[in-house]
C-alpha cells in the first residue's frame, strides 16, 4: 500500500479563506488582534460544534504576512534578534545571518501527540543510522514566533497541558532527556478551541489565554443560508472559490501589516487607563494580568482601526474577550460571565 504524504504548505493552501467566513465577528477580530500583537497572549475559542472554530484558525494561516528567519535554523530564529541559546544558529551577530522568508508558522498540536514530539527529543534516525547524538526539535520549536493551535483543547492530556503552560509562561523550552540538554526560545500564541460541554478547562490553563471568545451557531436564517452556500461552493470547487476571496484575504493582510506598523505609536490616554482600572476593580479580577491584557487588546483594537489613540470605546469592545475567563467563578450565580461584564460596563458608563 502506498501512503500519500501531504506537504505542510499543501494543506495550508487548501484552507477555507478567512475572509469568506460569514459572521462570527468576535472570533475573527480576536484572531486578527493576536496577529497584530502576539503579546496579547493566547486565544481561546469555546462554543458549539460546527461553528467554524477550526476553519477560522486554519484560515488565519493564509492571512499572515511573511517573516524573516535565519537560513537553516530549525527554530525559526529572527536574524535581527539572534538568540544566544539557539542550538542551530546561536551566537551569530545581529543582522549578519543569511535568512529566508517564511510564512508565520501556524502549527497544529493534534490530540494524541506524544510528549517527545511536543518538546523535541533525541533524533532516533541520526542515532541509529549514524551513531550521532542530536536533538530533533518538536512542535514547540516549529511554533516559535507563530501560532500553536490545539483543537479540542479540553481533551488534551494533562501532562501535555502542564508542559505547554510552563513553556508559554517562560517563552523558553528546556529539554533534559535522553542525555540531551537543550534550551531554545519558544514564544508562540496559543490558540485553543473546544466545546465546553466536553469538559471544563482548568483555571490555570484558562488564565494563560489573553482573549476568550464564545461562539454559537448563527441564529439568523439568512446568515445560515449564506454560510451553507459558501461552504458548498468551496467544497465543490475550491480553486474558483479561493480565487473569489483572494482579494478579501489580501485586504485583511494589508490591514494586519499596517496595524502592526502602527502599534508601537498607539498611545493610551489616562481616561482610558482609569476606565480599565475601574472596570477590573468592579469585576474583582485578580492580579494585574487582566488589566494588562485589557490594555493590550484595546491598543491592538485601536491600531486595527488605524487610530493612534486608545478610546474608551476600545476598552469597552475589548473587555468581554479579555476578562470573561478571568472572573472568579461564583457557582451560585446563574448569570454568565459575559452578562456580568456587560452589567459592569453599563454601570460604569452611567456613573
Amino acid at each position: 500500500m502506498t501512503f500519500a504524504y501531504v506537504s505542510r504548505t499543501g494543506t495550508r493552501n487548501r484552507a477555507y479563506p478567512f475572509s469568506a467566513i460569514v459572521g462570527q465577528e468576535e472570533m475573527k477580530r480576536a484572531l486578527l488582534l493576536a496577529a497584530i500583537d502576539p503579546t496579547i497572549g493566547g486565544i481561546l475559542v469555546l462554543g458549539d460544534r460546527g461553528t467554524g472554530k477550526t476553519t477560522a484558525v486554519r484560515g488565519l494561516a493564509g492571512l499572515l504576512p511573511v517573516i524573516r528567519a535565519v537560513e537553516g535554523c530549525r527554530f525559526n530564529c529572527d536574524p535581527d534578534r539572534p538568540s544566544g541559546t539557539c542550538p542551530d544558529c546561536g551566537g551569530g551577530a545581529r543582522g549578519t545571518a543569511r535568512y529566508r522568508r517564511i510564512p508565520v508558522p501556524v502549527v497544529d498540536l493534534p490530540l494524541g501527540a506524544s510528549e517527545d514530539r511536543v518538546v523535541g527529543a533525541l533524533d532516533l534516525e541520526a542515532a541509529l543510522v549514524h551513531g550521532r547524538k542530536s536533538f530533533e526539535p518538536g512542535l514547540l520549536a516549529s511554533a516559535h514566533r507563530g501560532f500553536l493551535y490545539i483543537d479540542e483543547v479540553n481533551l488534551l492530556e494533562d501532562h501535555i497541558v502542564d508542559l505547554l503552560l510552563d513553556v508559554a509562561a517562560s517563552g523558553i523550552n528546556v529539554v533534559e532527556r535522553e542525555g540531551l540538554s537543550v534550551r531554545h526560545d519558544a514564544r508562540f500564541v496559543l490558540v485553543g478551541s473546544g466545546n465546553p460541554e466536553e469538559g471544563e478547562l482548568r483555571p490555570q490553563l484558562l488564565d494563560r489565554f489573553g482573549i476568550s471568545v464564545e461562539v454559537g451557531s448563527p441564529s439568523d436564517i439568512a446568515e445560515r443560508i449564506e454560510v451553507v452556500r459558501r461552504r458548498d461552493a468551496f467544497e465543490r470547487d475550491p480553486q474558483t472559490f479561493m480565487e473569489r476571496f483572494k482579494r478579501g484575504d489580501g485586504r485583511l493582510r494589508t490591514r494586519i501589516r499596517k496595524a502592526q506598523a502602527l502599534l508601537p505609536e498607539v498611545e493610551c490616554p489616562d481616561a482610558a487607563l482609569t476606565f480599565a482600572s475601574k472596570l477590573c476593580l468592579k469585576l474583582g479580577v485578580d492580579g494585574l494580568r487582566g488589566e494588562l491584557t485589557l490594555l493590550r487588546v484595546a491598543r491592538a483594537t485601536a491600531a486595527l482601526a488605524g487610530r493612534q489613540h486608545v478610546e474608551v470605546a476600545d476598552m469597552v469592545a475589548a473587555a468581554p474577550g479579555a476578562l470573561r475567563h478571568r472572573l472568579r467563578r461564583d457557582p451560585l450565580d446563574e448569570s454568565g460571565s459575559t452578562a456580568r461584564i456587560e452589567r459592569a460596563l453599563s454601570e460604569l458608563s452611567e456613573g
Partner: protein, 575 residues
C-alpha cells in the same frame, strides 16, 4: 406496511450509495443496529459500492491512539536498523471506509481523533519521533448498538455523520435481491458537483435542519450535499423537491425528522432587510417549501416509526448531550513517568522508543556494522510507567420531597456546583440523583462540565413524598457503574431519614421504612463508600441509624449551607 414508501432496506441501500458518491462531503453513516445478519448483509453491500481494493477496515469502540494515528514500527525498526513508521488505521483507510463497531462506547478522546481526521482529510502524526501529515479521506460508518437510552455515540462524531439509518426494524427476509450497481455510483460521482440548486431549496433545507434541532451548520450542509447526491444518482442536473425530501429523510434520520415534525411551525420571523436581494421568492414561499419537503420526507417513513420516535423524544434530549464527560480511565493513559530500566514482567509494557534510544549510543561499541540489525541487550529494555490516579465520582442522592425541600435542594445544588468547581482541577466528576414522589431519578449523569451541571440543576424540581429506598437503590446502581469504569465512587445522601414511600411507589411509613432498611443493607453489602448528611432541623437518631445500616459516615449538618457541605466532602474525596 404501506406500499407507497420504499421501505427501510431500500433506504439503507440508498444511504450507502450516497456515501459512496460523496464520502468526504457526507462524512459517514450512523447505523442504528444490533449485530446480526441484516447488518452484515448491508455492510457487504456497502463494500461492493466502493472501488475494488479500497480499504474497508473495521475497528471496535475505542482503539488506542497508537493504532489510530500510528507510530514506531518496532520489528521493522529492529530489522532495518533505522526508524520505520507504522501507519495508523486512519491513514491506512484512506480512500475507503472505516467501520466503527460499538460506536456508543467510543471515548471522547478517540472520537476527537477520528473527527479531526474527518475534518481535514488528513491525519497529523506527531508521535514517537515521527512528524508527518498523511492523507486520510474516508467515509465513517458508526455502528450504534446502544440498547439503553443513555447509550449513544459521542456527539463529536454524531455531528460529522451526514446520514442516519436504522436497520433495527428490518428482518432478514425483508432484504431484497437488489444488485449492487457501482456504475450508477461512478456516473453520479462525475455529475454530483455540477448539480444545480435553487435558492428556495437551500433555504428550505437549512430551515429543516434547524427545525430538527440540528443546530450545527454541518447539519444544513449535509442536507444539501445529500440532496445533490440523490439528484445525481437519479441522473438529474438540478435538485428537485423530491430529492430534497429523500435527502431530508436519510440525512436527518427518523429521530431528527420526528423532531422537525413536532417543532412548532412558526420557525421563521420575517427578516426582509437581511435577505440577500437575489432571493427572488418571498419569505412565505420559503416556509411553505420547507413544509412540503418535510411532509414528503415524513410520508416515506414506515408506518408507526414516526410515532414511536415522537414518543421517544426524551431519548433525543439525552442524545445531544451524549458522549461528553465520559472519559474512560485506562491504564494506557495518564501521566507518563520516566521509563524505567527493569526486568521484563508479565503485564508490563515495553517502551519501545525509550529502549531504542537507550540502545542507540552503544551500537558502535557493540560492533554493529552498517546494514546490520540493531544490537539490543537486556540492559537497554525500558518499561512504560504511568502515574494514574483513579478518578473519583461524587454521587449526590438528594431528598427532593415536599416541605423543606426547596431550601435543602438549594443547598445541595450549591454544594454540587462548588464541588464541580474543584473537580476540574482534580479530574473528579459529580452526579446527581433526586428522589421525590414515587421514584428516584438520575438527574445528572457523572460529569465534569459545569455548563451541563448548571443547566440540569437549574431545572431540578421538588415536591411530593420521600421514596428513600428507591434513592438508595439508584445510588447503588450508579456507584457500581462507576466502579466498572474504573472510578472510585462516593455517595452522599442528603436526607432527614423520614422515608414515607415504599419501593413500589405506595405510601405508608412502615413499609417505606422497612424497604429503606432493606435497601440500605444491600447497599452496605456492595461495600460502597458513602456519607449521610443529616439535613433535619437538629440531629435525628433515625438518620444516624440509617448511616449505620448503609455503612456510611454520619455527618449532622443542620441547615448545612452549601459551603460547609462541600468543605466536608472535599476533605473526604482527597483522602
Amino acid at each position: 406496511m404501506n406500499a407507497s414508501h420504499p421501505g427501510p432496506w431500500h433506504d439503507a441501500l440508498l444511504a450507502a450509495q450516497l456515501l459512496a458518491i460523496d464520502p468526504m462531503g457526507l462524512g459517514g453513516i450512523r447505523v442504528r443496529a444490533r449485530a446480526g445478519p441484516v447488518r452484515e448483509a448491508w455492510l457487504r453491500w456497502v463494500r461492493e459500492l466502493f472501488p475494488p481494493g479500497a480499504s474497508f477496515s473495521r475497528v471496535a469502540a475505542s482503539p488506542d491512539e497508537a493504532s489510530l494515528v500510528g507510530g514506531l514500527d518496532f520489528s521493522a525498526t529492529l530489522a532495518t536498523g533505522k526508524p520505520v513508521m507504522r501507519f495508523g488505521l486512519l491513514a491506512a483507510v484512506d480512500g475507503g471506509v472505516l467501520v466503527l463497531a460499538m460506536a456508543e462506547r467510543t471515548s471522547a478522546s478517540c472520537a476527537a481523533l477520528i473527527a479531526a481526521a474527518m475534518d481535514c482529510g488528513l491525519v497529523k502524526v506527531e508521535r514517537e519521533g515521527f512528524s508527518s501529515d498523511l492523507q486520510a479521506r474516508f467515509g465513517l460508518i458508526a455502528l450504534d448498538e446502544g440498547i439503553e437510552d443513555d447509550e449513544t455515540i459521542p456527539a463529536a462524531l454524531a455531528d460529522r455523520l451526514g446520514l442516519s439509518i436504522r436497520l433495527e426494524e428490518i428482518g432478514y427476509r425483508d432484504i431484497g435481491s437488489e444488485k449492487c450497481d457501482r456504475h450508477a455510483v461512478i456516473a453520479a460521482q462525475a455529475r454530483v458537483n455540477a448539480v444545480a440548486v435553487a435558492d428556495d431549496i437551500v433555504a428550505a433545507l437549512v430551515g429543516l435542519a434547524l427545525a430538527s434541532g440540528w443546530s450545527s451548520v454541518r447539519g444544513s450542509l449535509f442536507l444539501l450535499r445529500a440532496a445533490r447526491a440523490v439528484a445525481a444518482l437519479r441522473g438529474a442536473d438540478e435538485i428537485a423537491v423530491e430529492d430534497a425530501a429523500t435527502a431530508a429523510r436519510l440525512a436527518l434520520g427518523p429521530q431528527r425528522l420526528a423532531e422537525a415534525v413536532a417543532a412548532p411551525q412558526e420557525k421563521e420571523p420575517p427578516q426582509p432587510e437581511q435577505a440577500p436581494p437575489e432571493e427572488g421568492r418571498a419569505e412565505d414561499s420559503r416556509g411553505e417549501l420547507q413544509d412540503i419537503v418535510l411532509q414528503a420526507a415524513a410520508a416515506q417513513l414506515p408506518d408507526g416509526l414516526l410515532a414511536a420516535m415522537l414518543a421517544n423524544k426524551v431519548r433525543m434530549a439525552a442524545d445531544r448531550g451524549g458522549g461528553s464527560g465520559r472519559t474512560a480511565a485506562s491504564a494506557k493513559r495518564g501521566r507518563p513517568l520516566a521509563p524505567i530500566a527493569s526486568p521484563r514482567r508479565a503485564g508490563v509494557r515495553l517502551d519501545i522508543l525509550a529502549t531504542l534510544r537507550a540502545a542507540a549510543p552503544w551500537q558502535g561499541l557493540r560492533g554493529r556494522a552498517k546494514d546490520e540489525t540493531l544490537r539490543i541487550r537486556m540492559s537497554d529494555l525500558r518499561n512504560k510507567r504511568y502515574a494514574e490516579r483513579r478518578g473519583a465520582t461524587a454521587i449526590f442522592a438528594v431528598d427532593a420531597s415536599g416541605s423543606a425541600a426547596v431550601a435543602r435542594l438549594a443547598e445541595a445544588k450549591g454544594a454540587v456546583q462548588l464541588l464541580l468547581a474543584e473537580c476540574y482541577v482534580r479530574r473528579d466528576e459529580v452526579a446527581l440523583i433526586a428522589y421525590r414522589r414515587t421514584q428516584a431519578e438520575v438527574l445528572l449523569e457523572p460529569t465534569r462540565s459545569l455548563a451541563r451541571a448548571r443547566k440540569m440543576l437549574s431545572a431540578l424540581p421538588g415536591g411530593g413524598g420521600t421514596p428513600l429506598a428507591a434513592g438508595i437503590i439508584a445510588a447503588a446502581r450508579l456507584a457500581r457503574a462507576q466502579d466498572k469504569r474504573g472510578r472510585d465512587a462516593i455517595t452522599i445522601f442528603l436526607t432527614d431519614g423520614r422515608a414515607n414511600v415504599a419501593l413500589d411507589g405506595a405510601g405508608g411509613r412502615d413499609r417505606a421504612m422497612s424497604d429503606m432498611r432493606e435497601a440500605a443493607r444491600r447497599f452496605r453489602g456492595m461495600a460502597l463508600r458513602s456519607i449521610v448528611i443529616d439535613t433535619g432541623g437538629r440531629p435525628q437518631p433515625a438518620v444516624a441509624a440509617l448511616a449505620n445500616e448503609l455503612g456510611a459516615e454520619y455527618v449532622p449538618l443542620p441547615r448545612g449551607g452549601a459551603g460547609r457541605i462541600s468543605a466536608v466532602l472535599s476533605e473526604r474525596m482527597k483522602g
